[in-house]
Amino acid sequence: MSMKVALAGNPNCGKTTLFNKLTGASQRVGNWPGVTIDKKVGRIRGTDGAELVDTPGIYSLSPYSPEEIVTRNFLLEENPDVIINIVDATNIERNLFLTLQILDIGIPTVVALNMMDAVAKNGGSVDAKALSERLGCPVVPISALKNDGVKELIETVIATGESKKAPGFVKMSDGIEGLVAQAASELSGKVPEKSARWYAVKLIENDSMVCEKFSAERQNLTGPITTIENDCDDDIDAIISDARYNAIGDIVDGIVVRPDISTSEGTFSDKVDRIVTHRIWGIPIFIGVLAIVFLGIIGFGDIVGIGTYLTDLLNDYIEDPIGTSLVQWCIDNNVSEPLTGLITSALIGGVGAVIGFLPQMLVLFLALCILEDIGYMARIAFVMDRVFRFFGLSGKSFIPILVGTGCGVPGIMATRTIESDRDRRITAMSVTFIPCGAKLPIIALIAGALFDNNGFVALFAYLLGIVVILMSGIILKKWKSLSGEPAPFIMELPPYHLPSIFGVIKGTLDRGWAFVKKAGTIILLAAIVIWFLASFDWSFNYLGADATTESILQSIGQGICVIFQPLGWGDHWELTVGSITGLIAKENLVGTLGTLFAIDDPGDAGEEYWEILASIVTPAAGLAFLVFNLLCAPCFAAIGAMHRELGSWKATGLAVLYQCVLAYAVAAIIYVLGSFIDGKSPEVSGIVMAVIAVICLGYLLIAKDPFLQNRSSADKSEGAESA
């Protein structure tokens, strides 16, 4: 039977990087805590099929959030043969807090002392041999990023697993050890013998899950625990934590040489953080960084962004020679009119319209990967914490939002890192307001077609996403089931480092490949269906190149598009159909418009297709169209993820309804404001809808939180009772 190896450690200590090195896998690695939210399994290369399980990061084996429970349950219930406890050597004391608890489980353990290169670089050192003797288990110094020591680690893990030798444990003070022995005696025969110490310590610590299971045994320990609490004048869990840190102090004494860092100035990361996480300048710097990224990629005024330049080149190439050659080939080979239409509209018009944005996407993915890899994204979460708390959300909600900039599905799944159920549900309902990668082609389309490739459109889209999430924090907290105070947010800021060239390129190409794959699968299939519905009438007669006015799709779209009259684009059923097909995948909106406009005007692609869009809507209506599609219901995959997190279709349905109504209201306001700014008269229905939207949103935002009053009264009454 093959060996089962668990990988456990604090958040952001390099578990997934080590997992990738050991297995050759390419799991997503991020320079912020909480990237791994579920366990992952792979096989360790160069072994006889040893199975490695990567677990979400935890600080302690008394978990609070759902993903921490995944780790604890795996270590306790699935009985791995060996645990690799990865320890961040740059922050050794805090990491050893978990190590001590892992050793108590009694499973053979190897400590992988990671980031030793960073310790050495700063002039510090850790005596691994002495540490191994004091902990009672093997310690292997490694650098997962540079692949240093990984081979030795594998050899040690296999040898430890085969020996089945239980690790030692670190003793705490005599008083506590006496209590542990008493608890272990109470639990004798009721828990696995090798893990008896762990259960005993957790029973004393008041761990809710262990105490619930062994309530009678806990009751028997009440007397001695109360005696220690009275002696120390503290709660037992705090006393145990203190005892662990005292033991850790003894362990590292004399074997850890700290880097020579001036306490007044701190490390390089500290110096940079003083600027980028400044309480006043932090947010303007964040907006400035985003602006530089978007203006550099999309452009502004006469300056053509690098992404736009490359996209123009690709669009021209798709149109000529690819498009013209295919059309010429069809003519030369007597291909029938419908099949020629299929090629020009569905393949060149639909799929080509999406693929045309690939260069812009790649450059943007590259910029975001660099920002993420150097550690700036984690700073944004820190900076936004203050803003989020002000609006009733936890700063921890910003981590899923960062993940959601790539794809809404993992963004929603990342809400599992939030301990508070209410915060988690609110975040899951609002995380897709931030533009994901699939929405970028829509942003680029509107910026290119209606705003002369202005990068501020992209900046506006991202900032609007954040503003709407904050608005949702205020509005949704007024629902009884979602009311409550935001949970506290503690986040360790990883040190800055130069981006890993391999990691950044790989991250960029992975996302780019996903984009191409989507264009070749979902977008292709949707484009063919859209072409068919837009080219045939209800009697299945082919209508020709410019007959979309009588097609199946036109009759359906025409019936629905009146709903969007107040948003300024209700006269154009193509836009309505695009918004609906965007539910399959958001890029599909661009592919659908490409297909429909190419049927109207065969052979058009890229900028010519943008010109058609520019001729049928005003910039204000185009912006409202963009806003509606950014904020309304996400794609089906994201709705499915939302259902998994919210737990019921009723809650999911209400969440989707909330998103659509909010999107409609915000789009109406933007259409009317934009029209007035642009000097044009908006639709009367738009003005009416915008006024209603402002009144309703204003009320929901300003009205007092009824449950806040109840909570305050409850708090006061509790205070009175205790007095």
């Binding site: 997503r28 792979g42 080979n333 599905v409 490949w513 989507k518 070749g520 699968t521 979902i522 299939l525």
Partner: protein, 55 residues
């Protein structure tokens, strides 16, 4: 039906079959049905299995 028609139909059928096969394969391997590789790591309800370094 001309030879050109047959070629176009064959190419389109191959593309459609390939697209459907890719989507079905992604779905069966526990990856996200949206086709987005970025999210396939986390969005499946079951544990993602990685064998021999291949996702």
């Amino acid at each position: 039906m001309s030879t050109g028609d047959i070629i176009v139909l064959a190419v389109v059928l191959v593309l459609v079959a390939g697209a459907i096969y890719s989507l079905v394969r992604s779905h069966r391997s526990g990856k996200c049905s949206c086709g987005c590789e970025d999210c396939c790591n986390n969005c499946c309800s079951s544990v993602l299995k990685i064998e021999d370094g291949k996702n």
